[in-house]
Amino acid sequence: MTASRTAGLERLTLGFIPLLDAALPIIAREGGFFAAEGLDVALSRENAWSTLRDKLAAGLLDGAHMLAPLPLAMSLGVSGAACETLAPLVLGRNGNTLVLSPHWSEGMPSPNADVPPGDAPDPGVSARDFARRLRHRGGPPPCLAMVHPFSCQHYQLREWLALGGIDADHEVKRVVLPPPRMAEALEEGRIDGFCVGEPWGSLAQHRGGGRIVASGAQLWPDHPEKVLGVTAAWAERHPATLAALIRALTGAAEWLGASPEHARQARDWLALPPYLDRAVNHLETLAPGTGPAQQRLGGDLRPCPEAMPPMAAHLDQALRAQGGRLDPARLSACYSPVHFDAATHQKRA
C-alpha cells in the first residue's frame, strides 16, 4: 500500500492470538472494511493472553481480540493490574473443544459428526466415562491444560469434569499453556488433555494426537467466546474511532455470512503467515456452525450482559474464594451494548 492511500486514515494497532475467532479483524483488514471506515489497522500477533492484556492496559495496543471473561477480570483487578476494560462487541461464539489423549479417550463417544448440538452425544457420557477410568487407573492425577484462568475454556473444563462428578481442584492437575502448544504437549505426553479454541482442537484430532470428547457449544450453546476489548479510558478518548471499529467489524461479519465463497476466502486470509499460517491447513472453510466445535464467527455481534451468567457464575465463585463477590453493576458496565448500539445506529459517513 502506498503512502498516499494510507494518508488521512487513522492508524490503530489491535492485538490478537492465533485462533479462528480472530477472523473478523483479519477479514476487516484484508477485505478493506477497516479502510472503508477510515482506519488503517495493524494486527499484532501476541504470544500470550497475559501479554496482550498488559499491552492493552499500558496503551501499547488500542484494542484486542480477547477471551470473553478477560475484560471483566481486568476491570476487577484479578488478572494483572486493575484496569477498567470494556467489551463493546462479540467476535465469536462457541469454538471450544475438549480433547483427550488416545490413552484416555479410547472408545469414548465424540461429537465428531457434523450434527446439530442437540443430536450430538451427551457430554456427560464422556465425563462419567473419564471419571470411571480416572478412579480405576489410580496413579498420579491426569494433567489437563487450558489457556488462561479467566477463560471460558477453564470454566467449561470444570463443568465437564463436574458432569462426571470429578473435583477439578483435587482430582486432576490443571496447567495453562498457549493454544498453539496444546497439540504438541499432548503428543509428547506432558499433558493428558486440554480445552482450547479452534483450530487447535480439530487440528490435534486431525493429526491423530487426541480425540474430541466434548465441546463448549454442548455445555454453553452460543455463549460469547471472544470479544473486542478496549480500555474504558481509550473508549472515552476515541468515541468516533470506536464506532468506526464496531462498524468495520460488523461489515466484515455481514460479508462473511453472505456466501460460502466468502467463507472460503476468509479461510485463505487466515492461512496467511502473519495470522494463523499452517494451523488452518486442515480446514476448507470458515462457514459458521460446522464441525464439532459449532463455531459462529459472524451473526449477532451485539454484547449483552444478560447473556453472560454462565461465565459470571464462575468469576463470582473465584472472587468468593478470595472473600469478595461479583457486583452485577460491574458486569453490566463491562458488557454494555451502548457503544455497539450507538455505532450501528449512526449513518455511515
Binding site: 500470550a48 493472553w49 497475559s50 501479554t51 484462568p149 498457549p178
Partner: protein
Amino acid sequence: MPQPLKILLVDDEIVRAAMVEEALGQEGHEVVCRLQSPASLNEMVARHAPDVVIIDMESPDRDTLDSMSLLNRENPRPVVFFADQHEPDTMQAALEAGVSAYVVDGLVPSRVKAILEVAIARFASFQSMRTELDKARGQLADRKRIERAKGLLMKHQDCDEEQAYRMLRKLAMDRGQRIGEVAANVIDILERLEKGL
C-alpha cells in the same frame, strides 16, 4: 548486606540471557536457572523455588507463569505478576523493553524494583544492539540494490556509472527518499520493462 535472591530467567535469546545473568550476578543475586523454551515451567518453579522470575514479555510461557498463583494453591511459593502501582514509570519502561517479572508473594517491592531495573537496562541495550545490526544489514542490502539499479540505468539510459549514480541521487532528493528506496523503485520499473510487463 541483604540475602541474595534466587532468580529464574526465561529467555530464548541466549546472548541477552547471558547479559542479564552476568549483570544480576554482579549485584550479588543468584541466577538459579536460565531457561530456553522450558518443557515444564511448573516443574522448574517447583524445583528451584525462585524468589523472582524474569521472563521475556513475548514468551509464550507467560500465561503459564501468570496463572501459577491462581491454580497451584498447594504450591508453597506462588508467584504473582509484579505491577507496582506506585511505580508506573518502571512498569512502562519494563513493557517497552519487553521484560516482565513475577515474584513470590511478600517480597519487598524495592528489592524487586532494583532487579527489574537491571533487567530492563540489559534488555534495552540488547535491543539497541539488534537495531544497529539490522541497520548494518539494511545498508549492505541497500548497496547491492544501488549497484543493480546503476547497472540497469546504464543499460537503459545508455550512460556511464557516474551519470547513473547522479540520476539516482537526484531522484532521491526530489522525492525525499533514501537512495536505497529509490534504487528499489528503479529496479522494479526497469525489470518490468525488460520483462515486457
